[in-house]
Symmetry: D2
Subunit: 256 residues, 4 copies
């Protein structure tokens, strides 16, 4: 199974470079499944139904989310009826939306799970315990399991990946908006990258206007942040899985 | 000017791979100056005079530090008289050690500055303001200025680098122990990499034993962490500066 | 000198109970100076010029602020020209507004300083260093010095107060919205209370609607918080200072 | 049922004032049950079996804990076999020790629960969810339910108490080491105090040596903290419960 995962799509510049480059990427990698993190699609903060549809129309199959999932309240009704969007599974029970979803890919199935870290992030349920619970449901169904672990601390990301090594196909990090260079396949067969990075304006601070972010750091006053303009880049990851759900290859992608 | 910067050296595995690989790196890159972050050299926590001497003997010219600088108290007397070690300059006034140091390299001089981030880190003085203060002293002396910015958040690292673009030769991140893939030269001529990564055991969680780190995450109880064993890797960065102190090239290095 | 200090005024219920009870308090305590923390006056978030004028009209002489100072942007132009409002002095240089102000009281003068904590709060300048700087300006002018230290951690509040004991007349805490019972005069003559508490709805969670705050804790989703309704209470502190600026008495006040 | 709850006992000064004053308190209040928070009994950090025995010998029936529970590793074997000690129930499953315990008092039973907050504290399970789980076990057994909620943020403490109002007899806060003045009985019959305070040295910073705590704040360097010496105080709370487990009275106690 061939999977293309696209890092946090930031605002219109992010969506536009994805729409522009995805045909080339499909031609080159022939992915069976395209997943993208969309927590910043709506001007850097959240996702709207309209933007979700645009991303599905651009051939993305599944959208994952993160700490910004609820920033745009338009998502609230939509997410409850949309099985192609997953929000972090370790939100408390009763929160709208799915924490994982099962997708048919050719003759197989794959589970796409979204988890969020706690270190420097928020008071969520344990991603370790939540992963165990979900795996007890999924493991009888399919060995193809993809996790977008939306987290800040490298230690927590590496820890969850090592914890799940051999039990899932891939643990792929998002949230920092900076791609890391540590792609690897762990001894048990789990593909790992600490952070895929983002799709958004190059000359920015994690996608947002430099002057505004700097004003925040320099004054410690609240400053409304807007998505930066100018040339954008695309960060992604391409994975191949064996029929047994083990990672066969992992390749970082950066397009400008 | 040719500069080799080596990421956080973690314990004996980190020191040993540096000692082993540095001759090759010197042969390949002919650095005029070798800098290394040594905050984790002493079993993952701090630095001792003996280990500092070993690293100087291995041809490292300057050692930078970070949040672990005081973990091993043997450093306290030593750091006050050693101009080849810099600890974060934005510690409060009166704290032992230097925040920056000036080094002669061929006919030129270079300032090596260590700064630490505040986001998710601690209650230090502003790295932005501290950088301004130091630059007002250094800019009349030399245009060659290298900063190791030891910080967690990608936004703070990118913000400081953009703030200083054109005023310093390089802003290079450390602390996460995971190398990022975003090396670039900013419009003003400042070289930037969000994180250089570490020198330490490959099959580990940021250098430490996996089982112990996992036990912490799974129990939330205090667990003493030890440096992992097994094969090590080296993360570094090579930079070339023009005579005007602008970055001419930037290249990430990973050796296993 | 007789000083009445009123804890964080939360929304309209807070302002109304202050307006209602202040005449009684004046009759009972005959304060020479009335100070109030107004960071939550505008629906729990910030302060407007109109609300500031209402509080001045209600006989409050000086308003102090806290982490919510910029929540309502109407304050931005106003605060620059209003010497009766102080915002935390340890914001970075260049931020609008005063960090301390000098007030004539009878034949004497008193300095009212606002400082904010860093522990669990934000990346401000050191309140310790900032206090030292301000005292170097004020000590030649007057021995009457009142500090509203807006902070979360009891350790930081006690630490600053002990640090300044004998150099200022009072260090009075705000921010937690819960009055503490540890009023005391330190050996050097500085009056201290960890937190004065708030003026706002009794049957609430720190002034806000219980259901909304609970929804936040139970779902970890963003929930817009509104000021609770129903009966309100007033928390305050009454201080007497000697002519030498030492605390002579300290008395907690709670009115419902 | 008459309950005396004693705030965090800090080091030997804390234990000694408890041993000294408890006979007077028993004479005055005739408690049926004496509970004390002992997380700081061992030199400010944790609890040893020997100190636990000394506190039981001093007539304390039940010991509660907090974030410092594991600081002294001697407790590890002991806590597993000692039903008179409870550590926060919202540690992950599998952690040693009990989260709640049932005690016979005259003809009745009372459950003593220990919970820990997450805001500014650590990545524990939800205290809200954990409370629900425990109550589903306890409610059929007894209506007398006492909770020591060891937490930092006033909002989280008030939120849990309002959440449980009418379902438990008391939610009593610990951890800040400063007694609050907001004792009350909620509409549903639950007694509440944001923080009981501590038993320890008066002239200290939350029980520890002032100079050492100040050195930490002033240098941001690690400083080993020791319990302060000199006169101590005792902070406690006295509660009366009806046979139906409702709070009938609540009274703060401070002895010096
Ligand atoms: Fe993001
Ligand atoms: Fe995120
Ligand atoms: Fe490090
Ligand atoms: Fe570090
Ligand atoms: Fe407030
Ligand atoms: Fe506040
Ligand atoms: Fe404590
Ligand atoms: Fe505690």
């Amino acid at each position: 199974m061939r999977i293309l995962f696209i890092g946090d799509i930031v605002g219109n510049p992010g969506r536009m470079i994805v729409e522009q480059k995805l045909p080339e990427l499909q031609k080159e990698y022939h992915p069976d499944l395209i997943i993208a993190n969309a927590e910043n699609a709506s001007n850097g903060r959240g996702l709207t139904p309209k933007l979700a549809e645009a991303l599905f129309d651009a051939n993305i199959d599944i959208l994952t989310m993160g700490n910004h999932v609820w920033d745009n309240r338009e998502i609230l009704g939509y997410i409850e009826n949309e099985r192609r969007i997953v929000r972090p599974a370790n939100y408390p029970k009763g929160v709208p939306g799915l924490g994982y979803t099962l997708v048919k890919v050719n003759q197989a199935q794959i589970a796409v799970i979204n988890l969020i870290g706690r270190v420097f992030m928020g008071d969520y349920d344990s991603p370790f315990t939540t992963a165990d619970q979900i795996l007890s449901e999924i493991e009888p169904v399919t060995p193809h399991i993809f996790i977008d672990f939306h987290a800040e601390a490298t230690s927590e990301k590496l820890a969850l990946a090592h914890y799940l090594d051999g039990r899932v196909s891939a643990v792929v990090g998002t949230h920092t908006h900076v791609q890391t260079a540590d792609e690897q396949i762990f001894p048990g067969g789990t593909a790992y990258l600490t952070d895929v990075g983002m799709c958004g304006p190059v000359n920015s601070i994690i996608g947002m206007k430099k002057e505004q972010v700097l004003q925040r750091f320099l004054t410690q006053m609240p400053v409304r942040l807007e998505v930066e303009q100018g040339p954008a880049m695309l960060n992604a990851l391409f994975l191949e899985l064996t029929e047994q759900g083990k990672a066969a290859s992992i390749k970082r992608i950066t397009l400008k």
